[in-house]
């Protein structure tokens, strides 16, 4: 990397990435912001003239507000489920050293190695009214009719938790691995029990990983499109699904843009609030 030779211009290292992000992310987003204020057209994506109507349309309709609440609820539930399910696994992976470790690490990565369409397809086979789970339970005589596992929020949360677990486990595992094992040993030698070591050393030091994992999972679940589209069907729609419907099926470019922007602003505010709240609390815990 000859760039490094120029002592006075390390900025050159950052420049290519910055340019890519400015041209292909910032400019298109400004473009979409402009689009969201355009007047909807009949038969064409947009008409000349400007309006706030696309935003007022969203906030004056309980249907859309309910959809937003539903989307956020799915995001929170998925994040919590990923944290509760993922943390112990991250701990085991970070600390374990037996021969099966490679295998277990591989298993954690499998949802990432498998496309989102394939995973959702697998859940469809499992959760459907005629799916494996319902058939088995009916076969055993435990239930009379199929349980509603798909085409509702529960199905989406299950599938999203599966899809996003690695995004929780990997950062937490990384954070735990970054902890010097000597810290734990020192605490043990001073008489701390294993649970105390976990509570006072491992857990607080792993919180940056937890924070990163929670943000990742929340953002990815709120903006997920394929999983809600395939598992939610026509009955439960998240905002992301509605956005794509508006843009692709009905060519409402201005309204779709406004809806997408509202989703990202609301999601961003949640992340900011979370980051601020956790930073304060975790600083106190240390």
């Amino acid at each position: 990397m000859p760039v490094l030779r120029r002592a006075n211009s390390p900025m050159l290292l950052f420049l290519p990435a910055l340019l890519v992000l400015a041209v292909f992310l910032l400019v298109p987003y400004l473009n979409i912001l402009v689009m969201s204020f355009r007047t909807p057209g009949q038969g064409i994506p947009y008409a000349p003239g400007w309006t706030f109507g696309n935003y007022t349309k969203f906030f004056s309709d309980w249907f859309f507000i309910g959809q937003m609440a539903n989307t956020l609820w799915i995001g929170f539930a998925t994040t919590l489920a990923c944290l509760l399910i993922g943390y112990p696994v991250a701990l085991q992976l970070a600390r374990g050293s037996d021969r099966l470790r490679g295998l277990r690490y591989g298993i954690v990565l499998t949802p990432l190695l498998v496309g989102v369409v394939i995973r959702s397809y697998g859940w469809t086979i499992l959760l459907g009214n005629n799916g494996v789970i319902n058939r088995t339970l009916i076969g055993w005589g435990l239930i009379d009719g199929p349980l509603p596992l798909m085409y509702n929020g529960l199905g989406i949360i299950i599938a999203l938790t599966h899809v996003l677990l690695p995004f929780m486990i990997l950062p937490v595992m990384g954070a735990i691995q970054g902890i010097d094992p000597a810290l734990g040993l020192a605490a043990r030698s001073l008489g701390a029990g294993r649970s105390t070591v976990f509570r006072r050393v491992t857990l607080p030091l792993s919180l940056p990983g937890v924070q990163a994992g929670c943000i990742l999972v929340f953002v990815l679940s709120v903006s997920a499109y394929v999983t809600p589209a395939l598992i939610g069907g026509l009955r439960v729609k998240t905002v992301a699904v509605s956005v794509v419907d508006a843009l692709i099926d009905t060519f409402q470019w201005p309204f779709g843009s406004a809806m997408a922007l509202i989703l990202s602003v609301v999601g961003g505010l949640c992340v900011l609030a979370f980051a601020r709240a956790t930073r304060m609390k975790w600083a106190a815990a240390r």
Partner: protein, 264 residues
């Protein structure tokens, strides 16, 4: 060391999670081996007939090539510019550190759907539309950039500027210091990040779905289209094949390159 009951419970809990992670994939593989014409459980006998059907299907073969191509190009670009940005972030950004990090993570923090739409409008407004694969590759670069950046940054997190000073006081030149201090530190991050990037790109659906042009369907898009109209186990065979393909890439990286991503 003797096993305590708490350890056993902990271990069982973890294995249940592993079972949860594997079930949907296991079920797809099982479905692909079904000898019958439809997805039924338990399968009506085992056979590889759907794999034969799939391999004779030109459409899926072309989609696999497209996917591999897009993922490779996107990973190479992200790998280079993401690594450079990560070095800048950890070593030189100074007060702007947090701003640089947020900028680099922006594609991840913004909803993928929105990025895809924004990019779609953009390629239309500059006149190239979705012809060729420029839009799609750019989308995949945006998508994968944060993962390279995060991995390389993480591997540099324990970097101590004193090491650089020490090496310098011992007479090491800039290049030497880069090769002997920086490179060994970032190597696992770069390879791990690129692997992750490749997988993310290979999986990417939303961005490809909105930015694809006629005849450049990637594998996930082709599968999605297929699943809307067909219910034969061929889709399961395609899925299983793509899982196996990725598995081969990962095992190659781990065993042949001897890479231990997790030990950084």
């Amino acid at each position: 060391m003797k096993k305590r009951p708490a350890d056993v419970i902990f271990s069982v809990y973890c294995w249940l999670v592993y079972a949860f992670l594997l079930t949907p994939i296991f079920i797809v593989v099982l479905a692909s081996l079904n000898a019958g014409n439809f997805l039924t459980f338990p399968p009506q006998g085992l056979s590889f007939r759907w794999y034969v059907v799939f391999f004779e299907n030109e459409v899926f073969r072309r989609a696999i090539v497209t996917s591999l191509w897009v993922a490779t190009v996107a990973t190479l670009i992200s790998g280079c510019i993401g690594t450079a940005a990560a070095i800048y972030h950890v070593r030189y950004a100074g007060r702007a550190k947090e701003a640089v990090r947020l900028t680099m993570l922006a594609p991840l923090l913004l909803p993928e759907v929105l990025t895809a739409i924004a990019l779609l409008f953009f390629v239309y407004s500059i006149g190239i539309g979705t012809r060729g694969m420029v839009g799609m590759v750019v989308g995949h670069v945006l998508l994968t950039l944060p993962f390279v950046f995060m991995n390389v940054s993480a591997s540099l997190e324990s970097f101590d500027p004193d090491w650089d000073l020490a090496a310098r006081s011992l007479g090491a030149g800039r290049l030497m210091r880069f090769r002997r201090i920086m490179l060994p530190m970032i190597k696992p991050g770069v390879i791990g990040g690129c692997m992750f990037a490749f997988i993310i790109s290979f999986d990417a659906f939303t961005i490809s779905f909105l930015l694809k042009s006629v005849g450049t369907s990637t594998l996930p898009i082709q599968l999605f289209d297929y699943l809307r109209t067909n219910f034969t186990p061929e889709a399961a065979a395609v899925s299983s094949f793509s899982v196996a393909l990725t598995l081969v890439v990962v095992i190659f990286t781990e065993k042949v390159l001897g890479l231990k991503i997790r030990r950084f």
